[in-house]
Symmetry: C2
Subunit: 198 residues, 2 copies
């Protein structure tokens, strides 16, 4: 015996996600039917569609946003300093520290030859243009302390080499092999303070 | 900074599920946007609605089904023996053993005074009627080996006391405190063989 088709189908959908195996998917699907309010299931269903329809990348910095230009890029009072990060989550983490008042540039990926990701596959094309247009005075590269993160940082350093711009790499506090996304706020403040010129 | 509303909303939906905290919900929502195919998101959305619309309890045995009467209850060749279980998942587990050819009765709950669940709150009303109508010859109570499971088994034993029907409780092989849902097939076969008259 298999489960009724409507149940099997939902179990299948949950299983698409990494880290959700057959048992967990089953548990989630049963919970959806047995415990969730009808209106919560309906809004969950709507929210899935809404995400794909409304969400896009900021035309300036590449962060995920529901406008053409994100809130930070639209804020002209932001300092002419730029933190370069891998993804949207990282922007959120830096904003939470409340200690940085500059702008961001979101790569939406890291250079990774093993996975076939080259410099042209991440959001780097617009970086030089932004640096000029926005008269950026300082760049802080805040990619994760992994091989891909280091490689990407090095590439950016070379890219900006012949310009009179201070380029540093976030340093102090970030444990080796660590992921920016999971760092706490204190560690990130220390890492900002302890940055070293590249 | 918060995330765009479409993203926040989906994170909220994921967080309704038990065992999904803010970090996991964030990870799942990002995966939905960044890695999932459009058609998979659309069918996930549909499957959620479909579940609430199509799924119901079998009018005979109480199992979750998309028909009025489930496949097993509609199969007249099934033996006149009945396994009483807590939920739909348990039926699936017994069917997978391939060693039981009788019918099921799904309680959709267990008696639990501490949680305010009495005998009238679970699918017991139709049991006596079924036993007579279907000329059931043997009943095997296969509730979990927990306090609620034992209490429910005892209640069913008393309910059927003055009838000439063999009532047994699944026994051999089920570890104390264990949940039926997670038992392996061999353990369940042993448990069926080792049942004791109540």
């Amino acid at each position: 015996m298999k489960y009724p088709k409507a149940l099997e189908k939902l179990i299948e959908s949950f299983q698409i996600y990494p880290g959700i195996g057959p048992k967990t998917a089953e548990r989630l699907a049963f919970f959806t039917f047995l415990k969730m309010k009808d209106e919560d299931v309906i809004s969950f269903s709507k929210n899935l569609l809404r995400l794909k329809n409304e969400l896009k990348y900021c035309s300036e910095c590449g962060v995920l946003t529901d406008e053409d230009k994100c809130e930070i890029c639209s804020d002209s009072s932001r300092e002419r300093r730029l933190i370069i990060v891998e993804g949207t989550k990282d922007v959120n983490v830096f904003e939470k520290t409340g200690q940085f008042f500059g702008r961001y540039h979101v790569l939406n990926g890291l250079i990774s030859p093993l996975n076939g990701v080259g410099p042209e596959d991440i959001n780097l094309q617009s970086l030089l243009k932004r640096v000029e247009n926005e008269k950026i005075e300082e760049i802080i590269v805040a990619t994760s302390a992994t091989i891909e993160g280091e490689m990407t940082a090095l590439y950016i350093k070379n890219l900006l080499e012949n310009r009179s711009i201070k380029v540093s790499r976030i340093g102090y506090g970030l444990p080796a092999g660590g992921d920016i996304e999971y760092a706490d706020e204190i560690t990130l403040i220390k890492a900002l303070e302890g940055r070293k010129e590249m």
